[in-house]
């Protein structure tokens, strides 16, 4: 397996694991409160829809000329990756609320109870909430599977990494019988943001006609540099947040 393929598998696995943890919370909430069978039906329908999206769009993307594919995919991955990284840096610095699976679970349970009692048969509420949850969380993963996979001509490997992540999360969920609140979601999102941004800038520049010093080996420098820059931004924001209140208090003291 080449370095780029390892990066592909790791990015897809981490992104998919994070999204699967969030989807699991929603499915657990409606399943335990209302109807497991309807929730599972929603999960199945959403999984089929996501597989259809990958199967339909995958071959069309791989049919594009390599340079066009790289510039389009690189640009999209970079925009997408910078979004992930921005949110992860803000969460790391305490400027954005962290995702709390227990809080989400309790909110979903409350909403499921408020929707009235489930009948004995098919429960439309459970189906819809599970379907929407899995589809929305899965769309980001489908996007990453498609863009990474098409660019490396390895949609199969990307899909396998996504499937492996889903299986790991399901196994952990079955073992815990509760939302996976202790999964370090922000750290994983941070890592995904770093990888997507690094591969995005690498492929985007190549597609636009640039040549990286060292070829593919440049990724070994790009990934740590992006990681260091993101960690430095978290550190700078934390410092700023610590000094800003002190400076404000000092101004008040001086003016008083």
């Amino acid at each position: 397996m080449s370095g780029a393929e390892v990066g592909l598998a790791l990015s897809v696995f981490l992104a998919c694991a994070v999204e699967a943890v969030e989807a699991l919370t929603i499915v657990l909430a409606v399943g335990t409160t209302r109807s497991w069978s309807s929730a599972f039906a929603g999960v199945g329908a959403a999984t089929l829809a996501l597989a259809a999206i990958v199967l339909v769009l995958g071959p069309s993307l791989t049919a594009l000329p390599l340079d066009v594919l790289r510039v389009v995919v690189g640009g999209l991955l970079l925009i997408f990756g910078l979004q992930w990284l921005r949110k992860a840096v803000l969460r790391g610095a305490g400027l954005k609320a962290r995702h709390d699976e227990l809080e989400t679970f309790n909110g979903e349970v409350e909403a499921a109870r408020a929707a009235g009692r489930a009948g004995g048969g098919f429960d439309g509420y459970s189906f819809t909430i599970a379907f929407k949850g899995v589809l929305l969380e899965g769309l980001e993963v489908a996007f990453i599977v498609l863009t990474f996979g098409a660019n490396q001509h390895a949609v199969g490997l990307a899909a396998a990494a996504a499937a492996a992540a889903v299986l790991v999360v399901i196994a952990a969920g079955v073992a815990a019988r509760a939302p996976l609140a202790r999964v370090p979601e922000n750290t994983m999102k941070f890592a995904v943001g770093v990888l997507l941004s690094s591969f995005g800038m690498f492929w985007g520049a190549e597609g636009a006609g640039a040549h990286w010093p060292g070829g593919d080996a440049a990724l070994l420098a790009i990934v740590p540099c992006v990681l260091l820059a993101a960690v430095a931004l978290v550190w700078a924001l934390q410092r700023l947040a610590r000094t800003a209140p002190a400076e404000a208090a000092e101004r008040v003291t001086v003016s008083a």
Partner: protein, 75 residues
């Protein structure tokens, strides 16, 4: 018509997200890379400089907004 608009808005939100300036910056950086590469100049450095600069600017904007709204409130 409203379905098409809603769909386009959904795609925009999905890909571009909260900060459209970052997306525009990435497109401009790709264009600059292509121009430099066509002119035969070294162009590989444009994307890393642009990406890290855009990330820092986007975070600073969000941090400024968060400090206006109170901690933990960045979008």
């Amino acid at each position: 018509m409203s379905t098409v608009v809603a769909l386009l808005r959904g795609v925009w939100d999905f890909i571009v997200g909260d900060d459209w300036r970052t997306a525009v910056g990435v497109v401009v950086a790709l264009g600059l890379t292509a121009l430099l590469a066509r002119a035969g100049a070294s162009a590989w450095w444009v994307m890393p400089v642009a990406a890290l600069g855009l990330l820092a600017l986007s975070i600073l904007r969000a941090a400024r907004d968060a400090s206006r709204r109170g901690r933990g409130a960045a979008r």
